[in-house]
Amino acid sequence: MTDMTEDHFAALKDKEPAKEPRSQWQDVWSQFKKHKGAVFGGGFLLFITLFVIFGPWIWDVDPKKLDIRNKDVRPIWTALWNGDAKTLWYRPFGTDNLGRDLLANIIAGGRASMSVGWAAMILSLIIGTGVGVLSGYFRRMDFWLMRFTDLVLSLPILPLLLVAVVLFRQPLRSNFGPEMGMFILIVGVISVTSWMQTARIVRGEILALKEREFILAARSIGTSNAKIITRHLLPNVISPIMVSATLGLATAIITESALSFLGFGFPSDFPTWGKLLADAVPRMTEYPERVMLPGIAISLTVLGVNYLGDGLRDALDPRIRGR
């Protein structure tokens, strides 16, 4: 009799040994790994970030040092097809028309571009998430915050960015120094004009989430609004925030370079990728590499970030994951 019941229970048991339990982030990682472009993109972003952070220690040349004797040096690889070209082994990427080392300038420019990109992205995420959470969670603020978001969305962004830079350049420069002031200004204007998409996405997610049972349960045991938001809502909207973070990083890098390109960016002796590109354009017929190198740096970084975002979107979406 007892044997019989044991058999019944045995039939209910799984034949294979149970798999190791896997956390959500392990699933995400294994899905992410399947997207080759995303792995390359993320890898390249990591590489370029480390390169611009540690580059000055590896390539120990001052980017601002003028070396007028060795001006207009071509990059070392031009020697392959043009033996007469002026190349120097200790100037592998060549120099510009004032003899400044191009590799050191690209590292320094990358530092500026990447730090502006990261800072503007983080700031716009904070604003966007804040507005999104407030308007999704508190019904009274919803109408006005969303109308405000729509209004900001219908502003002409690039013209207003240019106007804002022109207007606030002088006071900020005199208060924080030419470089720091410009950094604050550019990060500020980019993030103030790019938070709207994040706010809309976060609001949509919060609106759906706050009707779920676990929020009701949390509320019924007397959890305060602030705790509900930080403990229960924010961890659940982390994936759309991460996806819009990658998009934000890409747009911030491009916007900063565009401002520098148009001459509304950092002061003239402070290299950024956009400024290096803009400075090289007038003589691009003779020295195309000076346009190509910073341009490729911008493009590859943004391409990597975009692919990373693509992969993250797939990996963080539970409906796609595991297929």
Partner: protein, 355 residues
């Protein structure tokens, strides 16, 4: 539908007023003084008169209302007068004199005060009208080319999902998203103008088309800026087109159409295409104003003297009325095309009901 359109039109008035206020107040903070270039020998009281002539003496809210009046009342009146006087289309109508007011000092009719540029010393709108054709030619052509390229690409890469063509298309659109126009501009310039010598590097605005050869030259000089702008449009719209066609290919009506024996060409090009164009049309409408903004960079790169170039020049020379007016024109474009997109969506998709 009509009530919805009217309601949206009415709602866009406060939006535009708010935007105009933002732009106006932002520019009030400008540190520049239009009298900075005036020689120091000019006495202060004359300077004060000159400032008043530029409309600077009055309090801010009066300046704001006057600017609005000039922008919304005087400029359209001038436009109508010009159309009934000088254009072929409306010239047969009797001459209107909406913008004329009687001036007692001169004892004749004069044009009302218009928005005057500090830089060109003439009405801003005249300069805009002069420059608008350049922008419209290049930008409009680029947009049309971009749409014409991207729609077939989107359809084919959705129809053969995950094929080599689709993968390549995805890669190229990613590049189109990632490579900024201020890099594609010089890059295409190096390749096609410097190395190959097919097209001129800079756009010549003064070029006049009057025979076949000049027409060919005009086409050649338009190729590079159009390519740069079209690359971005193509990237964006072909992505939307692909997603939209993919959505529709899995629908029941596609299976029905196939099962009643329609050919693949008819199923895809008639049934699927018409349905998947609905969201894409709104994306196209939404993209038009942002193309104007993005064209600023392309115009600077290729030296097209359109309104983007005008904006940069005005900003650099501290010409606030021009900056203000142009920024507001950009804003009007955005608001109007948003409205157009919403209305088009309702017109083309009978499932959408706004009431």
């Amino acid at each position: 539908m009509l009530t919805f359109t009217i309601r949206r039109l009415i709602l866009s008035v406060p939006t535009l007023l708010f935007i105009s206020l933002v732009i106006f107040l932002l520019l009030q903070l400008a540190p520049g003084d239009p009298m900075a270039q005036v020689p120091l020998t000019v006495p202060p009281e004359i300077k004060e008169k000159m400032r008043e002539a530029l409309g600077l003496g009055q309090p801010i809210h009066i300046q704001y209302i006057k600017w609005l009046y000039q922008f919304f009342i005087v400029e359209p009146q001038v436009m109508i007068d010009w159309m009934t006087r000088d254009t072929f289309l409306f010239g047969w109508l009797p001459d209107t004199q909406f913008s004329m007011v009687y001036n007692a000092d001169l004892d004749r009719m004069v044009t009302e005060q218009r928005v005057i540029s500090w830089q060109w010393r003439g009405p801003v709108m005249d300069v805009v009208i002069q420059r608008l054709p350049q922008t419209l030619w290049v930008v409009g052509m680029a947009y049309v080319v971009g749409i014409l390229i991207s729609i077939p690409i989107g359809i084919y890469s959705a129809y053969r999902q995950y094929s080599v063509f689709d993968q390549a298309g995805t890669f190229i659109t990613m590049i189109g998203f990632s490579v900024p126009p201020f890099f594609t501009g010089p890059l295409l310039g190096i390749i096609f103008a410097v190395q190959l010598g097919w097209f001129p590097l800079l756009y010549d605005t003064t070029h006049e088309v009057n025979n076949w050869d000049t027409f060919v030259t005009q086409l050649k000089q338009m190729v590079l800026p159009v390519m740069v702008l079209a690359l971005q449009t193509t990237a964006q719209i072909s992505r939307y087109m692909r997603a939209s066609v993919l959505d529709n290919l899995n629908q029941d009506y596609v299976r029905t159409a196939r099962s009643k024996g329609l050919s693949e060409a008819v199923v895809v090009m008639v049934h699927v295409l018409r349905n998947s164009m609905i969201p894409v049309i709104t994306v196209i409408a939404l993209g038009i104003p942002s193309i104007f903004g993005g064209a600023i960079i392309t115009e600077v790169v290729f030296g097209v003297s359109g309104i983007g170039d005008m904006f940069i020049r005005a900003l650099l020379s501290n010409d606030l009325p021009t900056v203000q007016t142009l920024a507001f024109i950009f804003a009007i474009l955005i608001v109007m095309f948003n409205l157009l997109a919403d209305v088009l969506y309702g017109v083309f998709d009978p499932r959408i009901r706004y009431d």
